[in-house]
């Protein structure tokens, strides 16, 4: 199903009776070259790039619920590549470049809106740290701008610059950062993969793996066994639950992260703004709602809801940098389950079982990584070697002492 102005007009004249589903609803076949477990953003992107870039089209994407029902539908839609460490920054910059060409690539309106992301700083030490980050970003080919208070004030006049506790001294900006219509990313990838012959099988839960002599030859599902030369798990949020069926323990805890939307307001926030002294970030959706969030609740959970202490903490952060947010009413809030890894960075890797691949541990940075995660995972599956920008995302990095710990928190998942 493709869309154009002429299609809209002609359908309007025909009473909108000619629209068709954007992808098929196929019965799963007995055997595929590649089975991807999980039709979320990353799984669909993997299928799309496998078919489009690596020529592997005999692929099924199996999904327990409906496609895009996980964190691709529960995030705060921010894209950015403002990381510090060499293992991360080239990967996220690769992702940013894919975002920039995404809509043309899969011919779908994902509303990629590069309005910039600003991280505020409140003291000299933080300024120095951000300057270091700005330089690290530039060395990886990303863009960064240091803003002093006057420059920042022109962009964001609404911030509380002279707050007694956390005065705002300036910020680091990535002008190419921004937001994307998150659901459309899943739909665009799904349609693109489906058109190239990928079977997206919904309501099909993987209940086990067929593993013989250390080789994975397929999966057991609620709709019968499916054989596959390669099985690629891509279920961030539930990674431990699924990989347990293959007998693999992961360096991951599941935590809930809450997000909030206010009532619709006139355009007021340019891009994304994040607080430097607490955990709070805010952007404005195209409908006008302020979309904001903050910290994890902090305890292991698989329930997609959080508690009130974090609601209070996030709102306090909001009040500290932009007191006007206190006049907006909260419309809704929700929680999503994160794979929190031991160093705050993800995994795209082989597993100890031959033919079984793993993608997960995205912490709360999975959405922005969607295109690069899919591309690099497809590369790993197709060529059996990691893509150069994802080469550091190995499962054995803790054993080797090669952690990618952006925040320097150590092996404490709820602090990343």
């Amino acid at each position: 199903m493709h869309y154009s102005v002429f299609k809209i007009i002609s359908e309007g004249l025909k009473g909108n009776t000619g629209w068709k589903p954007q992808w098929r609803d196929p019965e799963p076949r007995k055997e595929y070259d590649v089975v991807i477990v999980g039709a979320g953003g990353h799984g669909l992107a993997t299928a799309y790039y496998l078919a489009k870039e690596f020529g592997i089209r005999n692929v099924a994407v199996l999904e327990k619920g409906w496609l895009g029902s996980g964190n691709i539908g529960r995030n705060t839609t921010i894209i950015r590549s403002n990381y510090l460490l060499p293992g991360n920054e080239p990967f996220y910059e690769f992702s940013m470049k894919l975002w920039e060409g995404l809509e043309q690539d899969f011919n779908y309106n994902a509303m990629v809106s590069q309005r910039g992301i600003i991280n505020l700083y409140h003291n000299d030490g933080q300024q120095a740290a951000y300057l270091r980050r700005a330089n690290a970003m530039r060395m990886a080919g990303a863009d960064s701008v240091m803003l002093d208070r006057d420059e920042l004030q022109k962009l964001c006049p609404f911030l509380d610059y002279d707050n007694a506790r956390f005065p705002i001294k300036g910020g680091i900006m990535q002008p190419r950062g921004g937001t994307v219509r998150h659901d459309a990313v899943a739909w665009g990838y799904a349609r693109g993969a489906d058109e190239r012959g990928v079977d997206i099988v919904q309501n099909c839960e993987v209940t086990g793996f067929q593993i013989k002599n250390g080789v994975c030859t397929g999966v057991e599902t609620s709709r019968g066994p499916i054989k596959a030369k390669k099985v690629a798990v891509c279920v961030a949020g539930s990674s431990s639950r699924v990989m347990e069926k293959a007998g693999i323990r992961l360096p991951i805890e599941s935590h809930v992260l809450q997000a909030f939307v206010s009532e619709g307001l006139k355009p007021t926030i340019p891009g994304v703004v994040t607080f430097g002294a607490g955990h709070f970030y805010v952007s404005q959706s195209d409908k006008g709602g302020l979309v904001f969030g903050g910290d994890l609740d902090g305890y292991n959970t698989y329930a997609q809801r959080g508690g009130l202490p974090v609601v209070e903490d996030v709102c306090e952060g909001g009040m500290a940098i932009m007191p006007m947010i206190g006049r907006a009413r909260l419309l809704r809030s929700w929680g999503g389950i994160m794979d929190m890894s031991m160093d705050g960075s993800p995994f795209i890797d082989h597993t100890p079982v031959d033919g079984l691949y793993f993608n997960g541990g995205w912490c709360y940075g999975g959405f922005k990584a969607t295109p690069a995660s899919g591309y690099c995972y497809a590369h790993l599956i197709a060529k059996d070697e990691p893509h150069e920008v994802a080469a550091a995302y190995r499962l054995d990095r803790f054993r080797r002492g090669a952690m990618i710990d952006e925040k320097g928190m150590g092996a404490q998942p709820n602090l990343h």
Partner: protein, 95 residues
């Protein structure tokens, strides 16, 4: 969530700091032959179950005791709260 502290009675979970899986009490023997593997698994790998989970909470805003809380990660229902000290001693630890 309300944590029913064995000494202080029901307390708001916001008074506590969360550490993680209670398996952290069982620190491997550093002189063991497989100490390297054991410490890797101890430090970095987790069961991360969906359902009953035994976990360590620290009563930072209270009496500063460590608790082992048995909680369901799907429903947040807390079924058992013990002093971590008692759990460790039952495992043969001296403190």
């Amino acid at each position: 969530m309300i944590i029913d502290h064995p000494l202080l009675g029901p307390r708001d979970s916001a008074e506590f700091v969360y550490l993680g899986d209670a398996c952290l009490i069982e620190r491997p023997d550093w002189q063991d032959e497989n100490a390297l593997d054991a410490f890797h698994d101890y430090l970095y790998l987790r069961d991360n179950p969906a359902g009953e989970h035994r976990e360590l909470w620290f009563h930072e805003q209270g009496d500063r005791s460590w608790l082992v809380v048995t909680r369901n990660t799907l429903t947040h229902e807390i079924t058992k709260v013990e002093l971590a000290r008692d759990v460790a001693r039952a495992l043969g630890r001296s403190k």
